[in-house]
């Protein structure tokens, strides 16, 4: 008897371990969402089709689901009010929803019409950036890697950096140490004369222009607190190619333009300046020149100098 059982276990060891690990995997890492999310969606759609009404959260989804999948959906894990997969940046879709509503309201206050003071820009050489820090996402990483400033300037840049997590991201390497410190810590320890900030493409998928600008404005204020003597250059978010913009996801040039317009308003032209390189890298369609980029988002290394030269020609001193 025992012998036989042993034989069976030996024979079925692979499917058993596969299934067991699967159960563990779903329970611990994924919370069975791979199965529950689509089922819930199916169920919602089914309810909508059947009743034409919105989903009733109190009803029990279990039964109908059973007929759809036919297997492996454990009972009791379905919880319509429970947490669902959260978006990467941590804003729930509910927030997005309400804020979208507010954007559609007309804004009563027009920005006061005053003649903008003409800023006098100077042309400088690379040494201007010796006491500068560049903060940003993968575009700024591109500047770091191919701008030729990696030895002399400071870069707090990381792929995927967002305004929401900018200060708390552990991306700054400390010489001689393995661990990295946050941008906040790094900026508290060392003072810079100039800060170049270009950030905002990763945030396009979450929130609205308003929620983005709220975080952006706060970030700029915080930068001023940390670096009271620094000149802050707010760089317009680089646009993407028109083809990339039309690809159908959240990244569009219209969205970038809307954000850039708001970023420009933060400039006081005394300590905070707004620099927009887009006219130099965009074509007549309003997007990045297609030949300047492979993925439609990042400048190829050989075109980074356009950006760098633009910064060098737009220094205030």
């Amino acid at each position: 008897m025992l012998q036989k059982l042993r034989q069976w276990i030996r024979k079925l060891s692979f499917p058993i371990s596969l299934l067991l690990m699967g159960v563990l995997f779903f329970t611990w890492t994924d919370n069975w969402q791979v199965y529950t999310d689509p089922l819930r969606e199916l169920y919602n759609r089914g309810v909508q089709l059947a009743g034409g009404a919105r989903m009733d959260h109190t009803s029990e989804p279990g039964q109908q689901d059973g007929t759809v999948s036919g297997d492996t959906v454990p009972e009791g894990t379905e919880d319509p009010t429970g947490e669902s997969r959260t978006p990467a940046v941590g804003e729930t879709s509910a927030d997005t929803q309400t804020e979208t509503m507010t954007t559609e309201e007309p804004q009563p206050t027009e920005p006061s019409e005053e003649l903008p003071k003409e800023v006098v820009y100077h042309t400088v050489d690379d040494s201007y950036f010796d006491d500068a820090v560049f903060i940003g996402d993968s575009r700024t990483v591109g500047m770091y890697e191919y701008g030729g400033l990696e030895e002399t300037s400071t870069f707090y840049a990381s792929t995927g950096l967002t305004i929401y997590k900018m200060f708390d991201s552990k991306i700054v390497a400390v010489p001689g140490q393995k661990k990295k410190i946050t941008v906040e810590e790094a900026l508290s320890e060392k003072q810079f004369a100039k800060i170049y900030l270009m950030i905002g493409i990763n945030e396009m998928g979450t929130g609205t222009v308003e929620s983005f600008m709220k975080a952006y404005g706060e970030a700029v204020q915080h930068l001023q607190q940390l670096q009271p003597d620094a000149v802050i250059y707010l760089q317009a978010i680089m646009k993407v190619t028109t083809e990339r913009s039309g690809q159908g996801d959240y990244i569009t040039n219209e969205g970038i333009e809307a954000r850039n317009e708001e970023i420009a308003k933060l400039a006081d032209d005394e300590k905070i300046f707004y620099l927009d390189v887009n006219p130099l890298i965009c074509d007549e369609t309003g997007g990045m020149v297609a030949s300047y980029t492979y993925d439609g988002v990042h400048l190829k290394a050989q075109y980074i100098p356009i950006w760098l030269d633009f910064l060098k020609e737009h220094a205030v001193e």
């Binding site: 030996r10 024979k11 079925l12 060891s13 692979f14 499917p15 371990s17 596969l18 690990m21 699967g22 995997f25 890492t29 994924d30 791979v34 199965y35 689509p38 999948s69 036919g70 297997d71 492996t72 990467a88 996402d137 993968s138 575009r139 890697e145 191919y146 030729g148 792929t159 995927g160 493409i201 990763n202 980029t293 492979y294 993925d295 988002v297 990042h298 190829k300 290394a301 050989q302 075109y303």
Partner: protein, 448 residues
């Protein structure tokens, strides 16, 4: 829907296997056919109708091609030529149309299988299939529908008539599948990021060592992607009780390009050999004729991969190599060389893959110049290559090892050991975890 997607791994496959398992063996072909149709519809619903129409038409054509009566021979010939022309014409039309619409899913593969069936029936190498169900199952069975292996009807006929669905087969197939999945998810997708990064940087700016590293990375990516896919297909077949032909035999261990293409995508090579090269006379009509036949085969192979000029560069380069190898092969000492043929292969294959990968000819020119050390990188130094090596070096070494016979030997030796079974099960879930993390697309993983 690819095999390495969450929908397939966690939804389609388990549900299908359960349904397939409880179906009485008499109706398993029907289950497989319906499952395959669902599979295709989940990937490319818009082109399901043309696919099924093509299956239906070719089924009837196949029935008529086998009729043997001298009186109606010309009719049979006419039908054969017409059917071939239409099938090939549709394929060419789609290939040349290009644009954003893309090809119907798997058309290159299923068209070639239909052609092989028609030709085999016409030539009398295979019997016509009276059962529409069996013929349709042969063409659209999901393990090989969208990326091969290109299977002749004769190779799977027996298992369409009579096959067994056993626990042992299921397990063996599952293990093969995991191996293929790991090759795709853990090697191809990851090593491919280096190639992607180099494209983002722009070929003009990279150093020669980085150009080589990226070309090697792409060589690894395309191999583990396709080999992994073929393994998964074989594994799926075995799960269901169908033995699909092998598509790769350690190609990077080959001695020279000729040998390489006897080991790379073998079923395509065999198709062209059987239906083009040998009917043209093969190598039996003198060297000049052979060279010409090879040229025809390679230009057709190039076109099969795509209508871009770069594919003809790729095919042309390989043709030149093969012709030269044929001439060198007459010298005795060449066969005694142990190392040089491998080195030659490892130098020429990455170059050929770049011709394959870069569709823009001027960009291809830039890249080849880089590889040939004609133009320095943007900084003049090799820092970029060092950086890539420090990030991807380990992965490249692992990939290189996985190209050797060692992996397969290890697998064959230990696949029935309990530890290996647990390891394979763990690898499966690790792959699933990575796929969930990356959202099915390694490049979506990139934020900006």
């Amino acid at each position: 829907m690819t095999f390495s997607s969450i929908e397939f791994l966690l939804w389609f496959l388990p549900v299908f296997l359960i349904v397939y398992g409880i179906t009485p063996s008499k109706y398993r072909n029907l289950t497989l056919l319906i499952g395959s149709i669902v599979f295709y519809a989940m990937g490319d619903a818009g082109n399901l109708a043309p696919l099924m129409l093509s299956v239906l038409c070719n089924y009837f054509i196949g029935l008529h091609l086998a009729k043997r009566s001298p009186r109606t021979l010309w009719r049979k010939r006419l039908l054969f030529v017409t059917a071939l022309s239409i099938n090939i014409g549709i394929l060419i039309w789609f290939k040349c149309r290009g644009g954003s619409a893309g090809l119907p899913l798997g058309i290159s593969f299923y068209t070639f299988q239909i052609l092989s069936y028609l030709i085999d029936v016409y030539r009398g190498d295979a019997d016509r299939e009276y059962s529409f169900l069996k013929f349709a199952t042969y063409v659209v069975m999901f393990p090989k529908l969208i990326s091969g292996p290109i299977t002749r009807y004769g190779e799977v006929k027996d298992s369409l008539y009579n096959r067994t669905f056993t626990m042992q087969g299921l397990e063996d197939g599952m293990k093969l599948f995991v191996l293929g999945l790991a090759a795709k998810v853990l090697l191809a997708d990851r090593v491919g990021i280096l190639w992607h990064e180099v494209q983002v940087t722009g070929f003009e700016s990279i150093s020669t060592p980085l150009a080589w590293l990226a070309a090697i990375a792409y060589s690894m990516e395309i191999y583990f992607d396709f080999w992994g896919y073929s393994l998964m297909a074989m594994g799926l077949g075995r799960m269901l009780g169908i033995e699909l032909p092998r598509n790769f035999r350690r190609p990077y261990m080959a001695r020279g390009v000729r040998d390489f293409y006897r080991r790379w995508h073998m079923t395509l090579g065999q198709w062209f050999c059987r239906y083009v090269y040998i009917p043209l006379g093969g190598s039996r009509r003198g060297e000049l004729c052979t060279i010409f036949n090879l040229l025809v085969v390679w230009m057709l192979t190039a076109f099969w991969h795509g209508a871009g000029w770069n594919f003809f560069c790729w095919g042309g380069l390989l043709w030149i190599c093969i012709v030269l190898e044929r001439q060198l092969g007459r010298l005795k000492f060449v066969h005694k060389m142990k190392v040089l043929p491998h080195i030659y292969l490892w130098l020429i294959i990455p170059v050929s893959w770049m011709c394959f990968a870069i569709t823009d000819l001027s960009q291809l020119q830039v890249y080849l110049d880089k590889m040939m050390w004609l133009v320095p990188g943007i900084s003049g130094g090799y820092e970029d290559a060092w950086k890539a090596l420090s990030t991807y070096g380990g992965l490249l070494v692992v990939s290189g090892l996985a190209c050797t016979p060692a992996i397969e030997k290890l697998y064959d030796y230990s696949k029935d050991k309990i530890l290996m079974k647990i390891l394979l099960a763990a690898v499966f879930w690790y792959c699933v975890w990575r796929l969930i993390l990356e959202g099915n697309n390694p490049f979506m993983y990139f934020s900006f």
